[in-house]
């Protein structure tokens, strides 16, 4: 990983971290309806773990980074579907452990935070552009 040199690096990394979050939400939602033949192979929601990363050169700048993506430790729902070809010998299937409402909240929050960072960066960019034209 490259060092954080200025505030634009901070913004870029924070936004890409939020983008990873939105991607995992999309993947979770896409898998929300899937069923599996056993509890072990059933889909569980993915969630990125955020971590603060500090700049080496200056003590003030800090950005956020995705350190890992974990599967949430939740039990998939056990449904009695004897007609499903994936059902086990007792006639049960296991549906993906995804809470759709929770994912929607997660998506909204990630997208808001992406927008906040983008807005801050665009403000700083405008200020810099005006400073460059100082005195003219």
């Amino acid at each position: 990983m490259n060092d954080i040199k200025n505030v634009f690096d901070v913004g870029a990394r924070a936004m890409s971290a939020q983008m990873v979050r939105i991607n995992t939400v999309a993947s979770n939602l896409a898998n929300a309806g899937t069923v599996s033949g056993s509890a072990d192979t059933a889909f569980r929601a993915l969630r990125p773990v955020f971590e603060t990363e500090f700049s080496n050169s200056s003590d003030s700048l800090a950005t956020t980074d995705v350190s890992e993506i974990v599967m949430l430790d939740r039990e998939p729902e056990r449904l009695f579907r004897p007609d499903n070809p994936l059902a086990d010998k007792d006639g049960f299937v296991y549906s993906a452990a995804v809470n759709t409402e929770e994912e929607m909240v997660e998506m909204t929050e990630a997208s808001r935070q992406y927008q906040n960072t983008l807005e801050a960066m665009s403000t700083l960019r405008t200020l810099m552009a005006r400073t460059v034209q100082m005195g003219s």
Binding site: V10, A14, F50, T52, T63, E109, T117, T123, L127, T131
Partner: protein, 119 residues
């Protein structure tokens, strides 16, 4: 009467530099709004400006600020002390004041240019 260009503009230059530094710190806080255990940081602008413009400040060494930690209004459960509403308000105020300092410098420069050209 001789007015040093540096003296007349130094206060605004220091202010501009500190405002920029503060904006970067606030943007960094906003970027970390969702990171667990992140501690929001900030510094006292007026105290730092007084220090940078005071007699003790060495000329031309640039400004550096001693950072403190923000005390949150409401604590969050994950240990993050960034409150977006507070940070965004501080950020927008700081941006406005940066532009004010910039306008002051621009007016000073254009005044001097008028004096030089004698128009």
């Amino acid at each position: 009467m001789t007015v040093s260009f540096r003296d007349s503009i130094a206060l605004h230059a220091n202010a501009l530099s500190l405002r920029e530094k503060r904006n970067e710190i606030l943007a960094s806080n906003i970027a970390n709004a969702a990171t667990p255990n992140f501690q929001a940081r900030d510094f006292d602008f007026e105290a730092e400006l007084a220090r940078a413009s005071g007699p003790a400040a060495s000329q031309g060494s640039g400004v550096d600020a001693t950072l403190g930690y923000r005390v949150p209004v409401n604590r969050s459960l994950d240990g993050n002390t960034v409150e977006l509403s507070v940070e965004q308000m501080e950020f927008s105020e700081n941006t406005l004041r940066y532009q004010t300092s910039l306008a002051f410098i621009n007016r000073r420069i254009s005044g001097l240019m008028t004096a030089i050209k004698g128009e």
